[in-house]
């Protein structure tokens, strides 16, 4: 009898040790050939390294498996299949392109593993996920939330700085899908504003949109559009194009002598060393993060320094702190739940409040369709002295806004 009890105990200890040694597997799908995916993956590795150095989660090490989606829908879907069936991961994380994510959603629905996604801002992705997917957490703001957050930002800026006016808005949009979608969303926002509804209700009186051919797609002559903008005389001049448009557009604005109150750029990324150009001074931009947030957020400062130490390069896109947040948000949930079982973990993730390197505290709330939405706003930033400064949200402000847009003389 004693032998039997001893044997059972030994077997139980061995079984417990085996479980303890089994890693918690996180499967990430990102586009590694793109700076957003590359830096997000690196930041995820940094987070996993820190967690493992601190003893792992629930006494188990954490393993991160990263697969490149090559920004192709079928590759993104296959990556989810591989993570689920070959690597047998416990969770899906990752993000970026909306079209890739749309192809992944039917596969994710089949496996219904807890998924925490940091990209894919299109509202179509939210509709495709649907209201019943309680296993799905989305951290990046949806496109309609971004539009609303800019409205809120300019409203608060106009309240804080009464000289700021945003009555007349001119949107220069590249003629492709990205720019056209931006124009359509501004048209919808103006329609709402005219009815006294929406985030732009109090601040947008008139709107004009003019398309241009992006330098990234063979264009690059913006003079006609800039002349139209100059004649329109907007308070906010916003351009929705690509990084290749940034410097030539500013150069041509200088040529035609167009200097609006605010010169706002909304490309997905900026050219390397854009801040070094004298033309960049005073340019306003939208984004989720800037290195200057280090001044107001200890979490951002820790992330920034740790990232540089590990990879010997600066994080240059907000997907880096978002990738880091992706892992830590899940880790906080696991710690709070004390298990990786689905139901209690979903419950715990709903209650997590994580001080992220993005600047804000990440909390989960429902959005238009899904139950679990994380961040809901972008930030309004401005190039000042070669750095991106946060001018809104006011509680994360790192500098006062420079306006009106500085004169072209001497630049």
């Amino acid at each position: 009898m004693k032998k039997a009890i001893l044997l059972t105990l030994v077997l139980a200890v061995v079984a417990m040790m085996a479980v303890a040694a089994t890693p918690i597997k996180i499967g990430a799908v990102v586009p590694l050939g793109d700076i957003t995916g590359d830096q997000a993956a690196k930041a995820m590795r940094l987070a996993v390294a820190e967690i493992n150095a601190a003893g792992g989660l629930l006494g188990r090490p954490v393993e991160l498996i990263v697969i490149d989606d090559e920004l192709k829908p079928e590759k993104g879907a296959a990556a989810i299949e591989k993570l689920a069936t070959v690597d047998k991961v416990d969770f899906f994380v990752g993000g970026m392109g909306s079209s890739v994510h749309l192809a992944q959603i039917p596969v994710m629905k089949r496996y219904q593993k807890i998924t925490i996604w940091i990209g894919a801002a299109s509202y179509l992705c939210e509709n495709a996920v649907g209201p019943d997917a309680d296993w799905y957490f989305h951290l990046h703001p949806w496109d309609y939330q971004q539009g609303a957050s800019y409205g809120l930002g300019w409203t608060e800026l106009a309240e804080a700085y009464p000289e700021i006016r945003t009555d007349r808005i001119f949107l220069a949009y590249e003629e492709g899908g990205f720019g056209t979608a931006s124009h359509e969303s501004y048209v919808a926002l103006q329609r709402l504003a005219q009815q006294g509804e929406g985030a732009w209700a109090a601040i947008m009186n008139d709107y004009m949109g003019v398309s241009f051919k992006s330098a990234a797609l063979g264009g690059g002559d913006y003079r006609a559009m800039l002349q139209q903008a100059k004649t329109y005389n907007p308070d906010l001049f916003i351009w929705a194009g690509y990084d290749a448009d940034a410097l030539p557009m500013l150069q041509q604005a200088k040529e035609v002598g167009f200097a609006p109150e605010f010169f706002v750029g909304a490309p997905p990324g900026w050219p390397a060393h854009f801040g070094d150009s004298p033309l960049a001074e005073g340019v306003t931009l939208y984004g989720m993060w800037a290195p200057t947030i280090n001044k107001v957020s200890p979490a951002a400062e820790h992330f920034y320094n740790a990232y540089i130490e590990m990879f010997k390069e600066e994080p240059a896109t907000y997907f880096a702190p978002l990738g880091y947040t992706n892992i830590y948000f899940l880790a906080e949930g696991i710690k709070a739940a004390g298990t990786i079982d689905k139901a209690p973990l979903i419950n715990a993730l709903e209650k997590v409040e994580y001080a992220s390197p993005i600047g804000e505290v990440l909390k989960i709330a429902p959005s238009n369709v899904i139950k679990h939405q994380g961040f809901t706003a972008q930030k309004i930033l401005q190039w000042q002295g070669g750095e991106q400064q946060v001018i809104w949200p006011l509680e994360l402000k790192t500098a006062d806004p420079t306006f009106p847009f500085p004169s072209w003389e001497g630049r």
Partner: protein
């Protein structure tokens, strides 16, 4: 010897049909992608056999995708019917366009077909209510509710159907017409070949195939998105597959699709960073050192061996 070839085809076909029973969903998903691009590569090659270089593959692929999604989302049509409609619309538009653009030859025809994807994309982006505009469109009832095994068998059936059509083009009298058009149009015309009729016929058939594949792809994942559905990826990869495998044949594009489809996935797994560079190098090396593709090189090897044996 006569029985060996049909037997081999039967074994390959049986293995392909039984694949989902012996493997994981991941490999099935890779196989579906390979079949998708294999069919596109074959359809591109079938048009090339007439001597006309068409770059319209991505355009008809996207058109089929949009038709399938609109049919399923707005008219509640079953995805399989939506796929057939995708083929029909692509074929119908190819017929109308073909009547004009198939008067062109060589570079002029190639450039005109290259513009098709952009033209279709601009039109679709501006038909907001129907197509969802620049945001795209989704459908909730995906093909077989994303049962990957059923999707695989469906794709396999389309691929086998395309192989049969390709072989019919190689073995029936269409073959003589197509080959003579490619070799010398004037001679073909003087022999009574109705060049225009044959070109339109091949253009429409290959466009139907591309439309069917586009609709299958779109309904498998349940979405269309202008930049994604008309991506040059659906033109360039099939061309690369046909070139690597060997053009002007049925086996060539099949081999090319298998080689590039598997190597792309394998390279990615062993080399997460930089795998696309190696992949590109493979394509360049094969095209440079095997101008007739892998199939051409294999054929040449066996012919040389046979000749050497006969000489002994």
């Amino acid at each position: 010897m006569k029985i060996a070839k049909p037997l081999l085809i039967l074994i390959v076909l049986a293995a392909a049909v039984l694949l989902p029973i012996v493997t994981e969903a991941y490999f099935i998903s890779i196989a579906i992608t390979i079949l998708t691009f294999m069919t596109l590569a074959l359809s591109w090659d079938m048009m090339l056999r007439t001597g006309q270089l068409s770059f319209g593959t991505a355009g008809f692929f996207g058109l089929g995708g949009y038709t399938g999604i609109i049919a399923a989302a707005d008219f509640g049509v079953d995805p399989v019917i939506g796929i057939m409609l995708g083929g029909l619309v692509a074929g119908g538009i190819a017929l109308i366009l073909g009547m004009a653009i198939l008067r062109l030859r060589g570079l002029y025809f190639a450039i005109t077909t290259m513009a098709l994807a952009s033209v279709f994309m601009v039109i679709i982006r501006n038909l907001h209510r129907l197509t969802g505009g620049p945001s795209g469109k989704i459908v909730y009832n995906t093909l077989f509710n994303y049962d990957s095994n059923k999707v695989y068998w469906f794709m396999l059936a389309i691929a086998v159907g395309t192989v049969v059509i390709s072989e019919l083009f190689q073995r029936t009298r269409i073959h003589f017409a197509i080959d003579s058009i490619r070799a010398d149009e004037t001679v073909a015309k003087s022999h009574g070949v109705n060049i225009y009729k044959y070109l339109i016929f091949v253009f429409v058939v290959t466009s139907i195939i591309q439309g069917v594949i586009g609709a299958t792809y779109a309904l498998q994942y349940g979405f269309v998105y202008p930049e994604s559905s008309f991506s040059p990826h659906y033109l360039l990869l099939p061309i690369a597959m046909a070139l690597v495998g060997g053009i002007y044949s049925t086996i060539g594009p099949i081999l090319g699709a298998i080689i590039l489809g598997l190597s792309s996935e394998y390279l990615k797994l062993i080399m997460p960073y930089g795998h696309l560079v190696i992949y590109g190098v493979i394509i360049v090396v094969v095209v440079l050192f095997m101008p007739d593709g892998v199939y051409g090189a294999i054929k040449a090897f066996f012919m040389n061996r046979k000749r050497r044996l006969e000489e002994r």
